[in-house]
Symmetry: C2
Subunit: 344 residues, 2 copies
DNA sequence: CTGAAAGCGCTTACAG
DNA sequence: CTGAAAGCGCTTACAG
């Protein structure tokens, strides 16, 4: 009626219907690719859509249909390389499926905070992806409503996930095993481990892999150095480790930690890799450009994010029977920061 | 009616109304903190809300009221430190205001891609924050519908933003000026600049600051080395710069670039800071732990993200007259990577 | 202070 | 193949 009027309102399905001389019903069929529409009608509708610049309201779609075409990722962090890459992978896969992605960060592992965040996230969204590498994430995964579609991005689990839960992971247990084994094969009698904060109360996957490698080689298992996530944590750990001349090889839970360890060793006058070999985890972009370049385990985080989304998408659309699966296998990238120990 | 039934449906405003013996109307008033509700009624409603575990549907709210309580950030990247930190800042401020945040990444600066992304983002959302540090972001900012609430996170603009646009920035022009000045004051006769890709066709803010500092000091302005964002770009630039013995100081558009430059210099046998001083931009977390520790400009990205959200929030709620404003001033963090040139 | 009506822009059965 | 009706869960005037 108001075709030539210049109201700012977005054209609705009804405006399109009027313009095309059909019911809004039929417009709905056309935009949903419903087969039973005469092609002449379809064309008329599409032309009207084009002319009016119609865009279907995602909000109305969500309200009327119950499917929201969006997921939100719940994470304790957005800046660390692994987290940011997972997020990027999720977004990439979601975009291809015409899904939106929301992000909600967990400020702490505090029960109340986590519960509030999980609720908020679950409120207006089809499904949830929670990055559960840390205590906050693990708590969130546990706190999520059982009938909300959720997939967790987790460390290699010791046991398969509960059957009502979908998880995705890379085999970093195996990766830690191999990295440690590589160091031992170089002649090191021992490998120390500087751990990232574990999400679970039990031994983390990386820790387990490292420990197993030492045991398999008949080497003593030194105490794990527990630290935070950032380079300053690695620095603190490295300062302590530097005082022990027996320490000739250090595996770190991530690259930032490894950089901190290398710096502390440097300041203590112990050279890397001359006196001590250092290995990181994640293969952050700058790790190949520090001096010495850092030997590290490359993890396909964005692939992990894509998998997480695909899994969730399957769950939401019930299209294919979905199964938890692990992503690309980790790969040890050998660079300058490791060498045989002096005593050889 | 079905109070004891165990349907899985979330309780609605109507269920609450029935339980409290009022109209759904009144429930709406209560959850919106409308003043004109008798406190006895209010209490009854609140009790019902509590008991039923009612949570207001954000979708219905958005559809009925037109305000969506969410914003989306449009960005070309999620992993670089600056971008990730801006995103984190936005999320933090949004969470405090009970807003959701969506993220949409721009795969390329290609016109079609950008247009599609902007449309998608603008579809189901209250407002848009676009990170416009790069060509894709700048294109997105330009492509956004003029009557969609948008705030841009931009480089220091040469001219004030168009009056219908809200921008936020840190004064990195000034920061580049100071960093360059500091290098000159150390005795360097010249400072080269390795630039990040500029969003605009014109000279970027950082480039302008650097250039001005050289001019003010009467130094020659060498050609800008144009590179990408990552350390490998810095490495490429550094390799070229290393061949010129006249090069004694290099300012880089970001820390990753700086690391790449330092690595290339190292491989070329030129020591940092002995032969060449290197300064970065951003103060990424690891920059204080590489060797030599990196002198860099600290930028308050998360503060910038918070400002961006606040600005947008004001725009959306029309609560306060909002004005574009710049965030915390950048600060030069002097570390080991710079020194007076050899010739002194 | 509170309720009955209409509507936001869609979809989902139900008819024909 | 297409339309008329009802509804998703809220809010926004309009009455009283």
């Amino acid at each position: 009626m108001n075709v030539t009027g210049n109201t700012r309102r977005q054209p609705s399905i009804r405006d399109v219907a009027t313009a095309a001389g059909v019911s809004h019903q039929t417009v709905s069929r056309v935009i949903n690719d419903h087969p039973s529409v005469k092609s002449a009608t379809r064309e008329r509708v599409n032309r009207a859509i084009e002319e009016l610049g119609f865009r279907r309201s995602a909000t109305a779609l969500a309200l009327a249909s119950g499917r929201s075409q969006s997921v939100t990722v719940l994470t304790a962090n957005t800046t660390h390389h692994g987290y940011a890459s997972v997020l990027q992978g999720v977004e990439e896969a979601a975009r291809k499926a015409a899904y939106g992605v929301g992000i909600s960060v967990l400020e702490s592992a505090d029960e109340q905070t986590v519960a509030a965040a999980v609720q908020r996230a679950g409120d207006s969204v089809g499904g949830l992806i929670v990055i559960a590498y840390d205590p906050a994430g693990v708590a969130a995964l546990a706190a999520a409503d059982p009938d909300l579609p959720v997939v967790g991005v987790v460390e290699t689990p010791a046991d398969p996930p509960p059957h009502d839960r979908l998880w995705v992971w890379t085999d970093d247990r195996q990766a830690a095993y191999e990295a440690t084994g590589h160091l031992l094969s170089l002649g090191h009698r021992n490998v120390h481990y500087v751990a990232i904060p574990s999400g679970t109360r039990r031994v983390s996957a990386r820790t387990a892999g490292w420990q197993r490698a030492l045991e398999d080689a008949g080497a003593a298992v030194p105490e794990v150095v527990h630290e935070g996530w950032g380079p300053e944590s690695g620095y603190a750990a490295g300062s302590r480790l530097a005082r022990d001349p027996e320490v000739t090889a250090v595996l770190c839970g991530n690259d930032d930690l490894a950089l901190g360890v290398m710096r502390a060793l440097h300041e203590a006058g112990r050279s890397v890799p001359g006196d001590v070999s250092v290995v990181g985890f994640d293969d952050a972009p700058h790790s190949a450009f520090v001096t010495p370049t850092l030997t590290t385990v490359r993890l396909d985080f964005s692939g992990l994010g894509r998998s997480a989304f695909d899994l969730l998408h399957g769950l939401l659309t019930r299209s294919t029977p979905v199964k938890p699966h692990s992503a690309a296998v980790p790969e040890l990238v050998v660079r300058e920061s490791i060498a045989p120990p002096r005593h050889l």
